[in-house]
């Protein structure tokens, strides 16, 4: 990923910034220009709470080149407590312990890097909520 493309997404990848429609309250991640519920164009940006639940998950064993060193890994759709859904790796637990509905927290992690000499891309991955 070119550094400029990665940089443009920092508010979302680094801080999980979402946008809430000022008219109807629907939250979007990533933010969008027009609300698909009420056609509103005014949004308030906010940092989502880092907690949510696993909606569904799968195991990636043959990833794209960018993630080849990480396979196999779990990938899931996370329902954030603030409303939006996002796709994230689920790490720090054995695959057999993955469960739909399990509570997770998004933790800051390395997502990928451009080889040994290129830029390192950071973002969030889901980890099981410690009980």
């Amino acid at each position: 990923m070119p550094p400029a493309r990665s940089w443009r997404a920092y508010p979302q990848t680094y801080r999980l910034e979402a946008a809430r429609c000022s008219k109807c309250g629907k939250a979007f991640f990533p933010p969008r220009l027009v609300c698909n519920k009420c056609n509103g164009r005014q949004f308030e940006h906010f940092e989502m709470k880092h907690t949510g639940k696993v909606v569904t998950h799968t195991i990636i064993r043959t990833p794209s080149d960018e993630f080849s060193g990480q396979a196999p890994f779990a990938l899931g759709i996370i329902q954030m407590d603030d409303g939006p859904r996002l796709t994230s790796q689920i790490v720090d637990l054995p695959f057999e312990e993955l469960r739909i509905g399990m509570p997770v927290r998004l933790e800051f992690r390395r997502i990928s890097s451009e080889g040994e000499a290129g830029a390192i891309h950071y973002g969030h991955k889901a980890v099981p909520v410690r009980i």
């Binding site: 920092y10 680094y14 801080r15 940092e47 060193g69 990480q70 790490v91 720090d92 054995p94 933790e107 800051f108 992690r109 390395r110 997502i111 390192i120 950071y122 991955k125 980890v127 099981p128 410690r130 009980i131």
Partner: protein, 352 residues
């Protein structure tokens, strides 16, 4: 103006490797490491964890306890000997991730295991000078020990972050005194482009660690006109379990005073995070009025010493983020040497 800690937090990777699993690969005697150096296991960062990711999580825990707006943080300093980039600061990524940019001063510190306390010291100094409202000092490392070397049994990963400020109502612990002790002592180093550090073996002990740590501790005791019995807790840099115990004995501190902050037997040496993480474990249990001595150590060599006095607010904020002993003990996964070698990038992969 009274300046002190208004927020603190730690973060520790969840993987551990036992000393036995390292020793059996190299034909070494695990019992001698456990008995002689009091090392039982150490933390292992995953492939997607590094000094920046650990720092961000520790910083967020510190922010949660402080209750401040991250935009009010005027400086973010990350001290580490394992910054992910040779040229590109770790501090800006941390500051960006916690929402402290752009009105913020960032710098990375490096001084072997002392880099974390340097960040704390400079952040404290800038608040004291009235240049910034809050300053964050972080000590974090994902340190490497060469395969089979004695350091491989201890080099671990973790981070601690402290927000310094002068708000009376947010004060968790006041900084009552500081003292630093520095000499050119070549006990441990890593040259440019080298993957693993080198060290002077037994030279790292008496003329390096003990001379420096006791020098800093005696200096701050004299400067503050305090005695060992005036402290409830003491935390020294912890390269292994034995060194801080011996330093305490030399200086006249009891085992009870160092016990709470001495995490190394089960955590390993988190380098720049070592004494700072120990301090977080102390703040997790300390009572208002307790006095704490912290004394870091960085090879090369130097120590930064601080005297803290705990305030009432510690009781209100300590459970706003995970306690350090809880981070150490919960959801731990043990890895064997093969997985550890992969996680620590010790395996040479084919070029693509």
């Amino acid at each position: 103006m009274v300046v002190g800690i208004v927020g603190y937090g730690a973060h520790i990777p969840r993987r551990r490797i036992k000393v036995e699993d390292i020793a059996k690969v190299w034909g070494a005697d695990a019992a001698s490491y456990k008995r002689g150096l009091e090392l039982f296991q150490k933390s292992v960062p995953a492939l997607d964890e590094d000094t920046i990711t650990l720092s961000v999580e520790a910083a967020r825990n510190a922010l949660a306890r402080s209750g401040i707006d991250p935009k009010d943080i005027g400086a973010v300093y990350v001290g580490s000997e394992s910054h992910p980039y040779a040229v590109k600061p770790s501090g800006v990524t941390v500051a960006e991730a916690i929402g402290a940019t752009p009105d913020c001063h960032c710098a990375d510190f490096e001084f072997a295991c002392k880099a974390g306390s340097e960040g704390m010291f400079v952040a404290y100094g800038l608040v004291k000078a009235g240049l910034i409202k809050y300053g964050m000092g972080i000590g974090a490392d994902t340190s490497q020990g060469a395969p089979g070397d004695a350091l491989e049994y201890s080099a671990a990963a973790g981070a601690a972050a402290f927000i310094m400020g002068a708000d009376e109502e947010r004060m968790i612990a006041t900084v009552d005194e500081t003292f630093s002790f520095m000499t050119d002592t070549p006990d441990f180093w890593r040259r440019e482009h080298q993957f693993y550090p080198a060290h002077g073996g037994r030279f790292t002990g008496e003329p390096a660690y003990f001379r420096t740590v006791t020098g800093a501790a005696r200096g701050i005791l004299e400067k503050s006109n305090l005695k060992p019995e005036d402290f409830k807790y003491v935390v020294f840099h912890q390269p292994n379990g034995k060194f801080p115990k011996r330093a305490a004995k030399i200086l006249g501190f009891s085992f009870e005073q160092i016990d709470v902050g001495r995490l190394v037997p089960w955590l390993g040496n988190t380098y720049s995070g070592s004494s700072p993480i120990g301090l977080t474990a102390i703040l997790d249990v300390a009572d208002p009025g307790d006095r704490i001595l912290m004394c870091s150590y960085g090879s090369g060599a130097g120590s930064d010493a601080f005297v803290f006095t705990v305030r009432d607010r510690v009781r209100e904020v300590r459970d706003l983020a995970p306690r350090t002993r809880w981070l150490m003990d919960e959801n731990v996964t043990y890895v064997e040497y093969g997985e550890y070698a992969k996680m620590r990038r010790k395996i040479r992969l084919a070029e693509k």
